[in-house]
């Protein structure tokens, strides 16, 4: 019985130890150190490509794809245009031979 009471007293005094705990002050240079860490990280993040946000990246990708599609289709029409032109020139005898264009003749 005595031991049980003894144990309970010890437990109670252990709980009470918290009340006697004094506040601890943060070290005086904590603010400076933390500010340095925060703004060093900020500088690192503000790299050359920082302005290139995911939205802009997507827009740029769409632009590139559209440009490619347009350029490809233009190229296709350009080649058929050349074919048509040479066909037309041949049928009307407008094809200049090497001799015709020579100054020596």
């Amino acid at each position: 019985m005595e031991t049980k009471k003894n144990i309970q007293d010890k437990v109670d005094s252990t709980f009470n130890a918290l009340d006697a705990m004094e506040p601890v002050n943060v070290s005086p240079f904590f603010k400076d150190k933390t500010m340095q860490v925060l703004f060093a990280e900020k500088d690192e993040k503000q790299s050359v490509w920082n302005w290139f946000t995911p939205k802009l990246q997507l827009a740029a990708l769409v632009c590139i794809v559209v440009l490619n599609v347009v350029a490809f289709s233009k190229m296709e029409t350009a080649s058929s245009y050349d074919e048509n032109l040479s066909e037309f020139a041949e049928s009307y005898g407008l094809v200049a031979s090497d001799n015709d264009s020579s100054i020596l003749n």
């Binding site: 144990i7 252990t14 705990m21 943060v26 150190k33 925060l38």
Partner: protein
Amino acid sequence: MTENEFIEGLQNRNANAYGKLLDEYQQKVFATCMSFVPNKEDAEDIAQDVFVEVFNSISKFKGNSKLSTWIYRITTNKCLEFIRKRNTKKRFAFLQAITGNDMPLDKTNYFTEMNHPGVILENKEKSETLFFAINQLPDAQKVVFTLHKVDGKSYQEISDIIEKSVSSVESLMFRARKNLQKLLENFYKNEI
């Protein structure tokens, strides 16, 4: 300056706003860290991590709770993360402690070296024993007990921080105290 303007300053990464934030919260955040991790160096490292997290995540702060509550939530999570990491390392090193049930408060198994300058010498042993016992509690009980009894926060503040009702906080506190009583009784029984 209103709180909204202040938060806007933080979101714009304004150095003056962060200076003010640190002036206002460095001591409070550090005190909470010391309550969870009774080692000055470790607590300062965690406090610094808290401000870095605030810096990186302030854009996600929607103002659903008070800024202070949000910062304390980050602090609590950072402390638990630290303790979890350290406990995992220690558990690996002291695998035999899991099988042995005669010493539930194995002081060699604590996650940090006790170095709490606020503990007076005559209470050193008792405070250490209590911190070791708190470390055995489940996370939810550990958070509530530490924030209330060690850090001195009210049930309402804790309820806001952990996003649970005040009655849940009271219930967790009751269970934490009961479990600690059991742990300490066993510890002192084994001591005798």
